[in-house]
């Protein structure tokens, strides 16, 4: 390769798109490092505080797409207080000042502002794609800026964000001459939409492939929208209450019959029970179905729909489908790769919607299954052992038994053996979430067998520091470890400080870690940011003599090349 001119090497590198592979390429030699950095198009930054925008621009001056992630995963469940951080503003400002021709920005769990969106919309002439996942801090005014100023916008994809909806006219801010829309997802907006503007936008967007509506788009509007966009591949239905509006129903059915390209269906945020049947004609082509927000649809109607979906690869559903429904999935959806079953009753009310039987049925019937997220009331070791035998190909296995510390409901034993079977059989397991009654033994199994594991979520599990040590010592590929309400303390935290240099981050909340232990860690590892999040006892943390033994409520540590961040709020103490 040394005898090829740089342009040839660069051309070869163009075929390498995964950022992990590009990182590896850049380590081969100085020449490759240089060629790679000038040609990298897509930059991925898993923790926005691990590096600064200035250093990013110094290394990669020519990128077109930036992906940034902010808050830790447990922020999704309200464990990270408001104001903690993850502000995208400094990044947008730095990029705007530079000469980067940004075309795509993908943010996850970050704080975005209207000013930031306005600056973004004005600074990059070729900006094409904005994807915001689980972000907050902005309103529909920010969306109006994007609509008004981004002449070449292709994708506006808003997934599960908290957006202040001013019920304004942001949709009518797209100029009449603008026709390049490919993706429009505003399902997470709570307020009224300008339906006329929406219809005109959809009608003049021949390239529109993905349209996801919010709950304020009623049935008659949906029928009209669908009629003028039969090329749609991915549809998110908003409100779907079919009142005695037979004309709209007929229009909808007529429109659906033309939807030969439809592959993905979601939404039904407000849905009358017996409305799904209108979609039966297109079910045989569906590869992705997300009914996890359709709380008002009874299990029997879900089952009738799924019976038509023989090509389904991805299914997100509520546990109201029941074990019987999962058996139907198992016998119908032979191409299924990813399944998520969400809980309807969040407080373990007792009506056992799905149990270990549903999970076993799925594992037996769906040979291609590799990713699962399963919320249930009860589980047994025997079931997990059977699942492991049926499905050794799991890449992601996330099981959430709703009641903490719940044992095998038949034998009353901990679920160590069941999860042990999973990690032993699934040699490619990259992500694991455990739950139920678990002792240190399960972590011994994880450390021993889960050699490819990159992300592990632990809640209410384990007995002693040994549990956490088994994981830290055994899982060589661990990147993200998040632990809550488990009895792991300073001994485990401090055993191998260098381990954290190989990981992106560690989260520990309501564990046995003390302030003294965290301080010792921070001293030993200056290349880590060790953050203590303490909302309640700010003053007590300072008391002399006692502070060393004070238990830390929330600890979040991550490797970084830019030291302590300057935007931390008062309740975050960086050691």
């Amino acid at each position: 390769m040394n005898y090829f001119p740089d342009e040839v090497i660069e051309h070869v590198f163009d075929f390498v798109t995964s950022h992990k592979d590009r990182n590896s390429i850049s380590l081969v030699c100085k020449s490759w490092f240089k060629i790679e950095r000038y040609s990298r198009q897509n930059v991925f930054i898993g923790n926005c505080y691990s590096i600064s925008p200035e250093r990013l621009l110094r290394r990669f001056p020519c990128f077109k797409s930036l992906t940034l992630k902010g808050k830790p995963h447990f922020a999704d469940f309200n464990l990270v207080p408001h104001g903690w951080g993850g502000f995208v503003q400094p990044w947008i400002e730095a990029l705007a000042r530079s000469r980067v021709g940004l075309e795509e920005l993908r943010l996850k769990r970050m704080v975005v502002t209207d000013e930031g969106l306005e600056l973004l919309s004005r600074s990059f002439v070729n900006f094409k794609s904005l994807v915001l996942v689980s972000c907050e801090g902005f309103s529909t005014d920010g969306l109006a800026s994007i609509a008004s100023n981004c002449r070449h916008l292709r994708d506006l994809d808003l997934q599960e964000n908290e957006i202040d909806d001013h019920r304004g006219q942001w949709l009518s801010c797209f100029p009449e001459t603008y026709t390049s829309l490919v993706t429009l997802n505003f399902a997470c907006l709570e307020g009224e939409t300008n339906l006329v503007a929406l219809e005109r936008l959809v009608a003049r967007s021949p390239n529109l492939r993905s349209l996801k509506l919010n709950r304020a788009v009623p049935l008659d509007a949906l029928a009209r929208l669908m009629a003028c966009a039969p090329q749609i591949v991915d549809l998110g239905v908003g409100s779907y209450e079919d009142e005695q509006d037979s004309e709209s129903c007929l229009k909808l059915q007529a429109a659906i019959r033309k939807y030969t390209s439809l592959r993905s269906l979601s939404g039904f945020l407000e849905a009358a029970p017996h409305c799904l049947s209108a979609f039966h004609p297109v079910c045989h082509n569906l590869t992705s179905l997300n009914l996890s927000y359709a709380a008002e649809i009874h299990g029997s109607h879900l089952i009738k729909l799924i019976e038509h979906c023989k090509k389904l690869q991805r299914l997100w559903i509520l546990d109201s489908i029941g074990d019987k429904g999962l058996e139907v999935v198992a016998s119908t959806c032979k191409e299924l790769q990813e399944l998520r079953v969400f809980p309807t009753d969040l407080h373990g009310g007792g009506n056992t919607a799905v149990t270990e039987d549903g999970l076993v049925a799925i594992s037996a019937g769906c040979p291609k299954l590799h990713s699962i997220l399963y919320f249930c009331q009860q589980m047994t070791n025997a079931a997990l052992i059977t699942v492991a035998r049926n499905c050794p190909n799991f890449i992601r296995f996330r099981l959430c038994i709703l009641e903490p510390h719940k044992p095998d409901h038949v034998t009353s034993q901990p679920l160590d053996e069941g999860f042990g079977a999973i990690v032993q059989a699934c040699k490619n397991l990259k992500r694991l979430s455990v739950s139920g009654l678990l002792t240190d033994q399960v972590f011994l199994y994880i450390g021993m067998f889960a050699t490819q594991l990159e992300m592990l979520s632990i809640a209410f599990a384990g007995d002693t520091d040994k549990g956490m040590l088994y994981v830290l010592n055994g899982c060589k590929k661990m990147r993200k470890l998040e632990i809550r309400d488990s009895p792991f303390g300073d001994a485990a935290l401090l055993a191998d400080v260098n381990k954290y240099e190989t990981m992106r981050s560690l989260w520990m909340s309501s564990c046995e870690v003390t302030l003294g232990g965290c301080k010792r860690l921070a001293r030993k590892a200056p290349w880590l940011n060790v953050e203590i999040i303490n909302e309640n006892d700010n003053n007590r943390m300072e008391e002399n003599g006692y502070e060393g033994r004070q238990k830390v409520d929330k600890l979040y540590l991550y490797r970084t090349v830019v030291g302590t961040r300057v935007d931390a709020p008062p309740f975050v103490w960086i050691l």
């Binding site: 008002e296 009874h298 919320f375 510390h405 044992p407 809640a459 009895p487 238990k551």
Partner: protein, 172 residues
């Protein structure tokens, strides 16, 4: 000897002081909330646990548990609002079924809302004594008479309410 026989027959287990839900023989399982005291894991002694920490109430809410995003939690809550229509009324109303604990409270609220009276319910003959009959649409799409099934079953399956004029409801 006689004394011992008496003691055995008395079944002193009934009078034994123990911590646990009434009617359970087994050790009650500590089902949730890890308290800040954290003494349980340091001593790791189940016997101590039983004496120091009584089992918490069955549905204690823990912060951030289950691990479900808040927008999903909010979605489930909205299920309890149902539309109420009344024959002859110009517009529909919406009520939150979770606000009521039984049929009596619900019917009283409906009477107040629409300014009418409902009449006496009996299993055999439905509602007698007024010109109106309360009906509801269940999850299967069938129209049922309000009051036949237990309240909990009704409130979880009711999708819509319709107060029908008796003249339009011969079956009831």
């Amino acid at each position: 000897m006689a004394y011992e026989e008496v003691i055995n027959e008395l079944n002193l287990k009934d009078t034994e002081l123990r911590l646990g839900l009434p009617g359970t023989d087994e050790q009650a399982e500590v089902s949730c909330v890890k308290s800040n005291k954290r003494q349980f894991h340091q001593s790791n002694d189940e016997h101590n646990l039983k004496e120091e920490y009584p089992p918490p109430p069955a549905k204690t809410q823990i912060v951030g548990w289950p691990p479900v995003r808040s927008n999903r939690k909010n979605n489930n809550k909205s299920v309890s609002y149902v539309k109420v229509s009344m024959d002859g009324a110009p517009y529909l109303r919406k009520i939150d079924l979770k606000m009521y604990k039984n049929y009596h409270e619900l019917l009283k609220a409906l009477e107040n809302m629409f300014k009418f009276t409902i009449g006496e319910y009996s299993e055999r003959e439905g509602y007698k004594g007024s010109g109106f009959v309360p009906t509801y649409e269940d999850k299967d799409g069938d129209w049922m008479l309000v009051g036949d099934v237990p309240w909990d079953m009704f409130s979880s399956s009711c999708q819509k309410l319709r107060i029908m004029k008796r003249s339009e409801a011969p079956a009831f």
